[in-house]
């Protein structure tokens, strides 16, 4: 392993190692202070930024990607799970984005979450998220990408439910988790289908060779996963719910990294997409619909974070359309610029509101607003669009009515079926908890 391979391994593994060591220390009873945590985070991500800079220089100098092969995670006969990391022209910008923004978010959060009860939990999840993202972006095979992808999903959900004392964030976290798991089926099945059809799911050795229909099927399955992760139509309903998390996590997840992971996946399979007109058209259609949906729903949002989330969604929709059109490097540039600016906007949002209110008071009345483009439309259409935007395109309503509702009703029907012939549903004898037991209860034992 040469210097650059070791550097790539360090960049990807460092946040994971930090997560494991600090979590294990906590389980054994050590509670590190805020200063120690923020310093550990700062040092980890600073070193990672230097590492990525070295990798970028190497790539610029030699034009050869850096690959690290750790062997196979496990092997059964001729099936193996390769552990290969790759830093190439596509993955390096994403690695750089992840380590720079994670470091910045870490420094911002040290102040923003000062004396917050979940301070340690937030930083642990930030490290786990960074590890998952870096793993997904540097994965040399789709198998490894799945592992990183799932870690990003679970940390995202746990951060949405960060303020666990309130019911709404917890329920929203559950909803997001359900959408992620449902759409991740597309990723899982596509990876297994690649193994089944092509005998490999490698990225490091180039994309697998597939026939026309197989290519279309794989691309559509991956599009399902990408659309779920990037909150594209029809899965956009979870995005405003995800705003329940702390602002720094909203910034890095839904302004920068997580929401662009879907676009990264499509960029990775862009050569396959180019072979399938069906899949490319689907990507463009979803992107355009999402861009319009985001633009409209964002205009009717009442709070700053949700407006920003929809603005972000709209841009990601445009990026999807660019990928579908085959403008790969244009999409990469758009994505990097968007992620950086949007993170700044998210982080600025709380203080911006404060500034706005101050300015509002100083002006002694409402601040002037620009004329809105929708005022040019007929009033009836304006009203219809307003209702549509206010209910966020009815996407959640449709999901509730046609997917979740029937599933719950089916579940309840099956419960009745199971209890058919039973005199009464099975219950058990209950005893009081230890803390509520009276001496009489104890004597009763």
């Amino acid at each position: 392993m040469d210097f650059f391979q070791a550097t790539l391994a360090f960049v990807v593994l460092a946040p994971g190692a930090m997560f494991v060591s600090v979590a294990l220390a906590w389980m054994l009873g050590w509670s590190p202070g805020e200063r120690i945590i923020s310093r550990i985070t700062g040092v980890t991500f600073s070193a990672s930024v230097l590492g990525v800079a070295a990798l970028i220089l190497k790539l610029g100098w030699t034009h050869a990607p850096v690959k690290v092969a750790f062997g196979n995670w496990f092997t059964v006969v001729d099936y193996h799970f390769p552990l290969v990391l790759v830093a190439d022209r596509l993955s390096l910008p994403f690695l750089a984005l992840t380590v720079i923004l994670s470091g910045l978010i870490g420094q911002f959060s040290a102040t923003y979450l000062h004396r917050e009860r979940g301070f340690l939990r937030f930083f642990l999840l930030l490290h786990l998220f960074a590890f998952g993202s870096l793993l997904a972006f540097a994965a040399g095979s789709f198998d490894l990408l799945v592992a990183g992808w799932e870690l990003v999903g679970i940390t995202s959900v746990l951060l949405i439910a960060f303020f666990q004392q309130r019911g709404a964030p917890v329920e929203n976290g559950l909803r997001v988790f359900a959408v992620y798991r449902a759409t991740d089926i597309g990723l899982l099945v596509s990876v297994f289908a690649m193994h089944h059809w092509a005998g490999t799911a490698s990225l490091a050795e180039g994309l697998p060779y597939l026939s026309g229909n197989q290519t279309a099927a794989i691309c559509l399955l991956l599009l399902l996963a990408a659309a779920g992760k990037a909150a594209q139509v029809p899965f956009s309903g979870w995005l405003p719910r995800a705003m329940e998390g702390p602002t720094p996590s909203s910034a890095i997840f839904y302004g920068a990294i997580s929401i662009h992971a879907g676009a990264y996946l499509l960029l990775r399979i862009q050569p396959l997409l180019a072979q399938s007109a069906t899949a490319s058209t689907a990507v463009i259609a979803i992107g355009v619909m999402t861009a319009i949906h985001g633009a409209l729903a964002g205009r009717a949002s009442a709070d700053a974070k949700t407006s920003l989330a929809y603005a972000s969604l709209s841009q990601v929709g445009v990026i999807f359309a660019e990928i579908g059109l085959g403008w790969k490097w244009f999409a990469v540039a758009h994505l990097l610029g968007h992620a950086t600016v949007r993170t700044l906007q998210f982080l600025r949002a709380p203080s911006m509101l404060h500034d706005y209110h101050q300015m509002h008071s100083a002006m002694g009345g409402e601040l002037a607003t620009d004329q809105r483009a929708e005022e040019l439309l007929p009033e009836a259409l304006q009203l219809w669009l307003y209702r549509w935007a206010l209910d966020r395109g009815h996407l959640d309503t449709i999901l509730d009515r046609f997917v979740i509702g029937p599933l719950i009703r089916l579940s309840e029907f099956l419960a009745k079926l199971d209890n058919l012939g039973m005199a009464q549903p099975v219950t058990r004898r209950q005893t009081a908890p230890l803390s509520m037991r009276t001496p009489a209860d104890e004597r009763g034992r």
Partner: protein
């Protein structure tokens, strides 16, 4: 060497039974006696595994696994449950299960099958309050006994190794054994008793009963080796039933609010995947099934144990219908619960990620439609698992009782050991994967599926 192995096997089985008698007579120091007996079984099983012949590491590995599960159960048993009858029953169950795993003769296997079910018929031990668990266990015993009698009537001997590949008793015996698997494992349409046992019976002993996975053991040890020709044509029926179970109970769990039932459904759905993998007859599927067996056993035992600890601390009227906020009171139990829960449903970095990867891959080769539907069931289980976690541990801090302790040291250490198994097993899975691929070699080669593997593209 062989005789020495027999002696050690007898010791592994006999020590828990002797300890059970001791506890029943003394009726004190139950946990200490139970712990020592289970620890001895663990040590002997580990020794046996180390020197196991190449053709039977699975049976010995299962002995080690079950001894570890019993050790976990005895340490996690709350003080309220740790009475002489419970510990006697648990130790008796351990001895009987080890006897089944070690059996090389169908008559011994049948005896063990009866013995493992017996504590669940006796009121002072683990009898559930409803009839369905008793009915299912009794029916499975009768069906297995009929199959064994029919094999005996053929007169070809009763040794499992000698009967390999001879399809003793033909279709009738094969069908009876499949029915026994369906009944004992809780496969659709005989699935309802599992939730009843968890809901109406003692939780930790019921978890031990389910984690014996006798149905899967019968498939791996008896059905596939003995009936290779029949399994090639008719075995997919069992696979489809297992898939139906995985999907049915996964949907059923979505609206269930009783934590015990919900957990039982998730455990059942995940353990049905073991049968699907065994039936796939591909190296990946069979290995995945064995590895999944280990994960499901450890993770569900941990989850049931934590649930029981919560019931004892916070009352048995726990529900998944609203947020209980118990995480504020018991943060370490919450962390263990989410870790075991996500490990059960395939969190990357845990052993189940590897097992499910292999399972789905292997199944996709033999039955593409099953391979596609399996991730759907697993995804629904993941949602139900996360829902249970959020409802039990998150939400507004529950008040109305005095401060409760988090995990006690004995609970913490054994749960940490279980968590380390699923995490380290996930990070370094090769030892367990190798065990899975060698341990079921005979089962796989007996009726391996013929597939055309694609040429690796360059």
């Amino acid at each position: 060497m062989s005789e020495l192995r027999h002696v050690f096997t007898c010791l592994a089985i006999g020590v828990p039974w002797l300890a059970a008698i001791l506890v029943a007579i003394l009726r004190r120091q139950e946990r200490v006696i139970g712990f020592i007996a289970a620890l001895i079984s663990v040590a002997i099983s580990a020794l046996l595994l180390d020197t196991a012949p190449a053709h039977q590491p699975l049976s010995v590995a299962l002995m080690l696994l079950y001894s570890c599960l019993t050790l976990l159960a005895i340490l996690v048993l709350p003080k309220r449950d740790c009475d002489a009858d419970t510990v006697t029953g648990v130790l008796f169950l351990l001895g009987a299960t080890l006897l089944a795993y070690a059996s090389e003769d169908l008559r011994v296997l049948l005896a063990a099958w009866f013995l493992t079910a017996s504590p669940f018929f006796i009121g002072r031990f683990f009898r559930a309050e409803t009839w369905r668990p008793r009915m299912a266990l009794a029916a499975s015993c009768i069906v297995t006994a009929t199959a064994v009698i029919l094999i005996a009537a053929q007169g070809g001997g009763m040794s499992i190794d000698r009967l390999q590949g001879r399809s003793p008793g033909g279709m009738a015996v094969f069908a009876l054994l499949v029915v026994a698997v369906v009944l004992r494992k809780g496969i659709f349409p005989a699935h309802a008793w599992v939730a009843d046992a968890a809901e109406g019976g003692p939780l930790i002993p019921s978890a031990l009963l389910l984690n014996g996975h006798f149905g899967a053991f019968l498939v791996a040890r008896v059905i596939v080796p003995l009936f290779p020709d029949v399994t090639r044509n008719l075995f997919p029926v069992l696979s489809y039933l297992a898939l139906a179970t995985a999907l049915y109970v996964a949907i059923r769990a979505l609206a269930e609010n009783s934590p015990r039932r919900l957990l039982a459904f998730i455990a059942l759905s995940q353990s049905a995947c073991i049968l699907i993998g065994l039936e796939s007859r591909t190296p990946e599927g069979v290995t995945g099934a064995v590895v999944h067996w280990f994960v499901v056993a450890v993770a569900t035992m941990g989850l049931f144990g934590i649930l029981r600890l919560l019931e004892v601390r916070f009352g048995e009227n726990l529900t998944a219908g609203r947020h209980l906020g118990l995480g504020e009171h018991a943060p370490r139990l919450a962390v263990f619960f989410v870790l075991f829960g996500l490990a059960l449903v395939g969190l990357p970095g845990t052993l189940s990620f590897c097992s499910q990867d292999l399972l789905i891959h292997g199944t996709l080769i033999s039955h593409p439609q099953t391979g596609v539907l399996l991730p759907v069931a697993i995804a629904m289980n993941a949602v139900s698992m996360f829902r249970l976690f959020t409802r039990l541990f998150l939400g507004k801090r529950r008040t109305g009782f005095t401060a409760m302790v988090d995990a006690l040291p004995r609970e913490r250490w054994i749960l940490t050991a279980g968590a380390l198994f699923v995490v380290l097993g996930g990070l370094f899975p090769n030892a367990i994967v190798r065990l899975g691929s060698t341990g079921t070699g005979e089962a796989r080669t007996a009726s391996s599926v013929e597939t055309v593997r694609p040429v690796r593209s360059q």
